[in-house]
């Protein structure tokens, strides 16, 4: 019986073929936690009473409430900082060197194709973009993995997304994944892998990160792309260790197969309060906005900064709108400065921030008041996600978000460029 790409990676780790539904325990190559989830994991880890399994294979990235927004969050980060020092954790990232975890780990080469990465953050599935099996877990899982280097998994079934065609202008990975979630729903891939194959040539690595990042918004265990030259180009300057490339068997069994023609996808907007409430931009009329957020682990990468720059250049943010831009890592921030993007953002009237997850989860740096509306390139638009329970979040690509910032209502990039 043929195996899917995810099943191939898991089988290699376990040392024998594994099939959907099987419960397995597998070695992990990377264990991740942040300032929200790691303190709970550290508390649980200490109950086990052993040393960490490998100082190099744990990443601690305080990114949610940093730079610390209050005393309580400072205390949470301090738990993580002290733990990192006490146990000699190599990959601890302090403010000033850090980035949003799911942009940072691939950028630093800490996750690679064919590996298993688990993280106490639901968007850990992002690394599927580079053909890594990565999935979100909880703090107790993180604690046990820090102690043993292992985690338990139920081998997932998979849905195959067979892609063809090329993306149209102004359409990006964000539109692809919003389109897919609109089609299958927020529990459409529950407990399953989303495997992306076919003609991937028009999807940049940044597009793939965005798509894999939001697999969890369809309920998936992981989203994963086949390895190709685009993956290799991204990996080759970052990998400092051997990695292995896997491919799904020809006769792999999928629970469903979707044929997706990328050329038919238009810019998408997800309406409140679920990522599945998607409409294409030409169906969206007269939605005035108060705030625009461009950034996060979903869309704070270099391409996102570039498209934002191209749309904002020489223009002004609408006087009734607050535009907040968050490059996802220090490297992306610096590169954006060198390229002149940041200067244009500021001239246009945007506020530009050091990397933080703050606004995405309604933590800090962009909280919405009652009755306010935001369009955001983040990944969730649940009730109260970005602030007051009577505020609204619309999800879209950086192109749509930047165009909306100029117009003051949700707009297509075509309206401003």
């Amino acid at each position: 019986m043929g195996l899917t790409l995810t099943q191939k990676i898991l089988s290699h780790k376990v040392g024998h073929p594994v099939h959907a539904g099987e419960l397995i325990e597998a070695d992990v190559d990377m264990v991740l936690g942040n300032d929200v989830t790691a303190p709970v994991a550290i508390r649980e880890f200490k109950k086990i009473g052993v040393d960490v399994f490998d100082k190099n294979k744990i990443a601690l990235v305080p990114d949610h409430f940093v730079p610390n927004k209050d005393i309580k969050s400072a205390e949470q980060v301090n738990i993580v900082r002290k733990f990192a020092r006490e146990y000699g954790i190599v990959n601890f990232f302090e403010v000033g060197q850090m980035g949003i975890e799911h942009a940072l780990l691939p950028e630093k080469g800490l996750v690679l194709p064919g590996e298993i990465a688990i993280g106490a953050d639901s968007h850990t599935c992002t690394y599927g973009a580079i053909s890594c099996f990565s999935t979100g877990v909880g703090s107790t899982d993180m604690a046990c993995a820090m102690a043993t280097g292992k985690a338990w998994f139920k081998v997932p079934e998979a849905i195959k997304f067979n892609l063809k065609g090329k993306l149209s202008k102004w359409v990006s990975g964000k539109d692809v994944i919003l389109y897919i979630i609109g089609k299958i729903g927020v529990d459409g891939a529950l407990y399953k892998s989303m495997e992306f194959t076919g003609d991937l040539s028009s999807l940049s690595i940044d597009d793939r990160f965005t798509i894999a990042n939001m697999a969890i918004e369809a309920g998936a265990k992981n989203g994963i792309f086949e390895f190709d030259e685009i993956t290799e180009d991204y990996i080759k300057e970052r990998a400092n260790r051997e990695y292995k490339v896997f491919k799904a068997d020809e006769d792999a069994i999928y629970s469903e197969v979707y044929e997706i023609d990328l050329s038919e996808i238009k810019p998408q907007v997800a309406f409140p309060h679920l990522p599945e409430n998607t409409k294409s931009i030409d169906e969206v009329k007269d939605i005035k906005i108060d705030q625009v957020v461009i950034g996060s682990c979903t869309n704070g990468r270099m391409e996102d900064m570039k498209i934002t720059y191209e749309i904002l250049k020489g223009k002004k943010v609408h006087p009734d709108v607050r535009l907040l831009i968050f490059p996802a890592t220090q490297d992306i921030y610096l590169e954006s400065i060198k390229k002149g993007y940041i200067e244009e953002f500021i001239k246009a009237g945007a506020a530009v921030s050091t990397p933080t997850c703050g606004p995405c989860l309604g933590g800090h740096m962009g909280i919405l008041a009652k009755g306010e509306r935001a369009i955001s390139t983040t990944n969730r638009n649940f009730v109260g996600r970005m602030g007051h329970t009577e505020s609204e979040v619309y999800l879209a690509s950086p192109a749509v978000a930047a165009a909306s910032a100029i117009k003051g209502y949700i707009a297509s990039p075509e309206e401003v460029v």
Binding site: T37, S73, G219, R380, G384
Partner: protein
């Protein structure tokens, strides 16, 4: 375990179970003070020790925050029954020892306030108010082993020592 049912709909996400604005702490008691507050302001007042939470599809979708099942457990809820669970919420609940059961029949039949009794070993759900019994799938052996050890930490502790 026995208690009255507190019922919600589909896609109850972790942001409404425990909003992010309270995640600058990991103290279960503090988290429980705000449990469910963005979906049900009255939850804190109506929940009693042993009560059963009942919900539709995709319960616990969203964040990996273990704070969500911790807040539910600390509130006194003894078991969550849903039509389906989001996967990270599912494993977090198992890992911290909060029993959860998938059973569409039970969810459809149970009304808010019904008195419910549950046998997690057999997966049997008894509606004492209505005099009905619904069957859910019992846990696989591996999961039972984690639960019988009192959660994943104890299970792992037993293996590393």
């Amino acid at each position: 375990m026995e208690g009255k049912a507190i019922k919600y709909g589909d896609n109850v996400d972790t942001d409404v179970i425990i909003p992010a604005r309270f995640l600058n702490t990991s103290d279960p008691k503090e988290l429980a003070l705000h449990c469910m507050e963005d979906i049900d302001k009255n939850f804190k007042n109506k929940v009693n020790k042993g009560d059963i939470m009942v919900a539709g599809y995709n319960f616990g979708c969203g964040s990996s925050r273990e704070h969500a099942p911790l807040a539910i457990k600390e509130s006194g809820i003894s078991c969550v029954i849903a039509k389906s669970f989001a996967r990270i919420f599912y494993r977090n609940s198992i890992n911290i020892g909060l029993p959860i059961l998938e059973c569409s029949d039970a969810v459809d039949a149970i009304e808010e306030g019904d008195l419910i009794s549950i046998d997690t070993e057999s997966g049997s759900i008894k509606n004492i108010t209505k005099g009905e019994i619904y069957k859910s799938q019992p846990f696989p052996d591996f999961i039972k082993e984690i639960i019988n050890n009192g959660g994943l930490i104890n299970y792992v502790k037993g293996k590393v020592k």
